[in-house]
């Protein structure tokens, strides 16, 4: 009887153990299934550790990092960089949030790899020139936060298909912001003219002349021209002339710009994560880039008052993406054709 008892109790124990084990397995399976079901492309990302230099605004930082966590699909070990800490593991990348964080990190940790986020292309290029940009050695890179001007221009064209001429305002120091744009525009049947402002007193006369020329005004992220104190003049003058302003950013749409493209944090996070992945897999960063997609924000009240028939924000976003895709495809075809041609030639 004892043997039966012992065997029974062993069986019982085993059963309990089995059930407990099975319980854990079930739970683990359940979790795995959930993860698989829920996160399609996210189950194979591993980011062992990153340092973070914050922007000073905790809510903002947490939100962005949480977006990162959502992209990764699991917790991401994050170590905030304290001012007093000097020694950092040179294999672990520092993610900076905002321009001042980037400058700080560049200065204080010259040996560490740095990935900048929420920073404009302009700022990044100005600061990062010291480090090598050769592909296999890239230890500093960025995920830009401003919207490429071409996107903004195409946003304008999507809202006003009959537009052709774009007016640009710049100071002598910021004209270079637009040079790339001007070369890209003809492919989309658009043209732009720059109106140079030498001093603040010249802003309105230049704007007035710009409004005679352009079908709309494209505002870039240029605080010397577009800032909270000048924006009132600019928006009112353009509005009086029945001309819309696109940009400079989502925050200005509430003020009265008709529309602006913007990079949602989820898109920034996606690009950030893929850059980090590359670092951990290959040991260098990809080149600095813009986020993968942009949303559009439209001020409907202003649009109605200007008697402009407004497409939906999604529709504009899709149109812009479509235009860019078409151009990219035809560019690839051209490149392929060129390659083929050069191959044919002896």
């Amino acid at each position: 009887m004892a043997i039966i008892d012992r065997s029974l109790s062993k069986v019982g124990l085993f059963r309990t153990a089995y059930f407990i084990a099975r319980g854990r397995v079930v739970v683990a399976l359940f979790g795995l299934i959930l993860m698989l079901v829920a996160g399609a492309a996210r189950s194979d990302i591993t980011i062992p550790l990153i340092y973070v230099v914050g922007s000073g605004n905790d809510v903002l930082d947490n939100y962005l990092l949480d977006q990162v966590r959502q992209v990764v699909g699991q917790e991401v070990p994050i170590m905030p960089v304290n001012e007093s800490e000097a020694a950092l593991n040179p294999d672990v990348p520092i993610v900076t949030i905002g321009p001042s964080a980037f400058t700080t990190a560049l200065g204080r940790y010259p040996q560490s790899p740095i990935l900048a986020t929420l920073i404009s292309q302009e700022y990044y290029r100005a600061m990062a020139s010291a480090r090598s940009d050769k592909k296999s050695e890239r230890t500093v890179s960025a995920v830009y936060y401003d919207v490429p001007l071409l996107n903004q221009a195409l946003t304008g064209k999507a809202i006003l298909p009959q537009a052709r001429r774009i007016a640009l305002l710049a100071t002598p120091k910021s004209t270079h912001l637009y040079s790339e744009l001007r070369s890209q525009l003809p492919k989309y049947n658009l043209e732009a003219q720059m109106f140079v402002v030498n001093s603040s007193s010249e802003l309105i006369p230049a704007l007035v002349r710009a409004l005679y020329y352009g079908d709309f005004v494209l505002a870039a992220q240029d605080p010397s021209i577009y800032n909270p104190s000048t924006i009132k003049h600019i928006l009112l003058t353009a509005y009086r002339r029945n001309i819309m302003v696109i940009g400079p950013s989502q925050a200005y749409v509430k003020a009265g710009s008709l529309a602006s493209s913007y990079a949602p944090y989820s898109a920034v996070a996606q690009t950030l994560v893929s850059a980090l992945q590359q670092w951990f897999q290959k040991g260098f960063f990809p080149e600095p880039t813009y986020p993968t997609y942009f949303n559009v924000q439209i001020n409907e009240q202003v649009g109605r008052s200007l008697n402009i028939p407004l497409p939906s924000e999604d529709s504009v976003k899709q149109q812009v993406a479509e235009l860019l895709r078409e151009q990219a495809m035809s560019a690839t075809k051209d490149a392929a054709a060129d390659a083929a041609n050069s191959g044919i030639l002896p």
Binding site: L236, A255, P309
Partner: protein, 760 residues
Amino acid sequence: MAVTNYSCCPSGTWVDSLLATTSLQAVPHQTILRRAPPAFGGFWLFCSATLLGITVSVAPALADGNDLSDKVEPLPGFYGFNDDIPEVLTTTRLRQPKTRVPGSTTVIEGNLIRQLGINSLVEIFRLVPGMVVAEVGSSTPVTTYHGTAHYEQRRMQIMIDGRTAHRATLSDMDWQSMPVALELIERIEVSRGPNSAAYGINAFLGSINIITRDPADTAGAELRVMSGSRDYRRTFASIGDATEDIDWRLAIEKRVFGGFDYQKEDGEFIPFHDGQNLNFLTFDSRLKLKPDFNIELRAGVTDGVNEEDQYKTGYFPAQANPDIDVRDYYLDSRFNFIPSADHFFHVQVSFENFKRRQRWPIKLPTEDVLPLFNGICSNPAGSSVNCSNLNTAPESLSANLNADSEDSRLELELQDTLVLSDTTKLVSGLGYRHDTYRSETFSNGRGTSEQYRVFGNFEYSPTNWLTFNGGGNWEHTGTTGQGYFSPRLAANLIFNNQHALRFVYSEAVRTPDSFEQNPDYGYTLRNVNAAYADELEGYRLTINDLLEKNYVNTLGVHLTEEKIRSHEISYFGQFPVSPALLTLEVRGFRDEMRDMIGGVIQFEEWNIDNSVDIDQKGFEVEGSVVFPSTTLRLSYGYLDQESRYSGPDSYDGKKLSAEEKGNKLAWLGRLSARHSGSIVAIQRLPWNITAASAFYWADEFRNSQFERLDIRLAKQLIQPRYTAELAFVMQHYLNREYDLSSDNNIADHNQFFVEAGLRF
């Protein structure tokens, strides 16, 4: 080194964890994930898996992206999360979209005016469907909506920046001396249809509001010169600045024009002395005292000569051209208060003075002198004259006459706009006008008249596809001593924010002006030749001194108001047909006008009275198609007018003949063209060249047609620091016949103009 774990904490909900604000520089107090004890492993796995599952399934529902505005404080100095970007285009600053306006409005942008090379203010109105433009007298321009009389156009309310622009007492619109330069027009809003509910009596057939460019928009300098056929020369220069505290602009303009080339006099074509040479100086400014309060100050002076031809003036044969010296000035101020984003009001005070000096010598041939003496002597009023010496008339009578006048207007207006909610808006206000007129000829001295009014409009949108507007104006005027109420009711059905169907009912009233109601029209003879000087020097000739009256005189008859009732159905729609935008507005109307003042006002013939009823019906179309480099615009108006005599058959026992009645009807149809319209095409070409073309026509203008084709070629030189423009305009008159008056003759049916402009 602290590691902060961004996943859930056992106690908090998932929402809390998303916004966990653990300090990044905190003292390490959290365990590092990887080294969690195995006992917690499964639990963590379960917890995180569940959490992840929930989060991931809910995440798409979270707005992906940047709706941080409520959650995140702006990051100072980081553009993109800007510190204090002001909300500039607030509800109260925004214009009403066309789908919500309770009526049909034609808006002509200043740019269009300049692109078409329109060279005088009145010509702009050829672009408005239903409006016609013509010249009367010595090339005096007239324009009106829906026709009616040609002289003394007084059935539309015309304003410049909200300030009434027509003359005070004669109610006349002097388009030649309007102190608005074409370069300074931002837009012109023409409200087609009675608009008394908003602008008071006198907006009988419609209203025109000329909005000049805001002084903030003309900072810099601009120069423009235009020169061409028939001695046309216009120069314009403006300079201005926009600073923190004040925006201002000073502009000068000179307009010179030769008018028509030939007039028809006694069957012959002789030169027509009907040009103008006027100078304008205007000042506009805005003092920005506080964010919620600013003052607009405007002032202007006009000085020059409006040529009049001696064969076109008056009853007595003029011996020299009775040119009019023009000296006008105005002062205009507007106090804008913006207490909140939903409420703003303004007080406008303006004063205008129109001074005209017109003096000319006359000579009455010998054979006409004795009949005149008989007339004077049989006139009871001529008792002051010693008739015993006026039995013979040995020689002609020569004297100097004048038609000097000076009238001024003081106008006050308060207008309040209150946005009560997303669906309701109330506009209300008060107005007061005080007119003073001084003229020896037109009123034998000095007189005044006053009017005051209360108005309001309530806009209510119960749903987003329906808007109701109800408004009215109650006004009391001194010329009739009565008060009048003019209502307007409108319903707009709006589809998709791009199409609207409007149903509008409105009434309006036009009261006779001071001159029509209380004339004391007489010419004082001065410098009479020696033969008659003793008797007639200083004598004031009036209509009662004239013997021949083969018509029924109505001088002294009390005039009442003209009334109009208008029914309108109109449609406005926008069709985005990529890459173009098609806009279309169609207006159908049926108007009833009663007690219209028909007849003529002349020194020698005065027979106006409220004696004509008019029924008008028709439709108007305005459309445009805008492509990336091409703009097409079309306007067309069809007007069917039926008039009937509805006045008395006799006055003072004298019966009106059928011809007289017929004339009264005909005079109120002079400008009622059955068909009128315009077609405009503007094409942008390479190298900053723009080609624009416009075709204007008006049909059945007193049995003649107006047809003209304008072509303009302009080259712009757009440099970063200045813009220059050179343009060439040609006007081709297709119809060689005069329009409206046999005096309106142009020698060459091709007219050429050259323009040069510089802006920096």
